[in-house]
Amino acid sequence: MHGTAAKEIKRIRFAGDERSSARATFALLVIALLLASFSFFLGPSNIAPADLVSGLFSGHGAAGVIAREIRLPRALLALFVGAALGASGAALQGLFRNPLAEPGITGVTSSAGLGAVIALYFGLATISAAVLPACAVTGALVSAGILYLLSRAGAGVMALVLAGVAIASLATALTALALSLAPNPYAMSEMVLWMMGSLKDRTLSDLVFAVPLTVIGVALLVSAARGLDALTLGEEAAHSLGIDVGKVRRRVVFGVALATGAATAAAGAVSFVGLVVPHLLRPFYGYEPARLILPSALGGAALIALADIIVRFADPSEQLRLGVFTALLGAPFFLWLILRLRRDA
């Protein structure tokens, strides 16, 4: 009895009316920016925060170089990588109408990593700086395309998750194979970066591609939002409400491929952000898929910024990789979610 009453109160408090949702979104934005600022001031070189700030604006001296070339790209990339993954997770969950969908679990992240590895270790990336992100997006697009074909053929969510497991295993195996065959002698030792994700030693050139691709990808996802709401009622009802369901699917698949591809090209494979963030935020937005996409982007940005701070605090030499850390938190969460869904069903 007590439990039911508590649940009822929680429901009412989290009913997700527009004003409280707007407050939650604003809070997420503030938290993400605060964490990114904190990240900016965090690093192995002992430079006073005031010097870093003046260095950021002037660009002079060691402080200027560190602020502009190392700290700023890292702090900003954390935001954009997190935003890409969070929004992708929210949109995939809306499309598949299941809280278990996520770029990592569905194999999109590992396929993007495979694309990046092929570009990097077979010398394609030297042709142009655009080749690496292009290959990562292509990898993401291939796996997202397979998911699209499966969902169009009417595959259930469990089939999609299992297909994701197969895609991820295949992409990981091909990544390992590519690295074994790569002419670069250091390739094997760097494999960890692509399979376990990190924001260490990123530069402004990583931002140049990650930002526009993420922005376009998230914009595509947002443009599909109305259709995702209608899909709450099922595909035929969505169709009868004037929604072009095929178009919604294509936008989500392309948007996820662009955003996840960009994030993976910049940071390697970082999983579970797209799973955890939308799930935690959903009650604050009335469980409606459309309203969840932008907040999930902000929440993902905050989570990656926080995780990137924690991995540096935990071990300044950064043996604890960002992707390992998110998987250590995310994988148990995924198991807990499956158990809870089974119990509710």
Binding site: L233, E236, G242, Y287
Partner: protein, 256 residues
Amino acid sequence: MNALFFANVSASYGARPILSGVTASFKSGAVTAIVGPNGAGKTTLFRTALGIVPSDGMIRVLDNDLKNWSREDLARTIAYLPQGSDTHWPITARRLVALGRLPHRKSFAPATAADDIAVADALDRCEACEFADRAIDELSAGERARVLLARALATGAPILMADEPAAHLDPAHQLSLMRLLKDEARRGTAVLVTLHDLALASRYCHEILVLEQGTVAAQGPADQALDDATLARVFGIRALRVREGEGSAVLAWTAL
């Protein structure tokens, strides 16, 4: 006026024909039941009019060929309540009903006063106001059926198609659902409803369309469309005819 008119409509899933040469008309202000054994093509008939399943022949919606309708205009003209009607997220009943306003809303535009009024009115007509702010997964099957019907009514479309809305409801909720459909017809809407229960169909519907393996076996008032010969041939049953006051109903009695 005929709200919906099918002339020689055929449809198939792959090589398997589902509808062949269906000619039927549906009037505004009337409830028409579509009955027939499993696999007779009842749901497919709805899907062809919605453009979900391609068809041959001609379908006229409000005296205009289906081919001339834009996706958006058709969505404002035909409201569709699919069978089963699962909802995939525990959104509140009010927000679920508001999805019925999507055809009237531009992308990213907030709900207008007209939207809010239509949602409140639909909830009120379906007697769903008292649980409007509860999550859909916390409602009983009967309450949920009323909310889903309110979602379809909120569109304010002149044609309403409901696919097996009475399935899984207890008798009291079945009767109240049929009364709601009849109320909607009284407002001028053409209501099309597929039913398995011949008693509900004959008791509440102005007209009955009997489908048999994708063709029209009969259409007309209950006592004509559901005569003994048709019941025996299409359903393989013998029925009792019950009269009470002004009303009458066909009651499936024995399988032949």
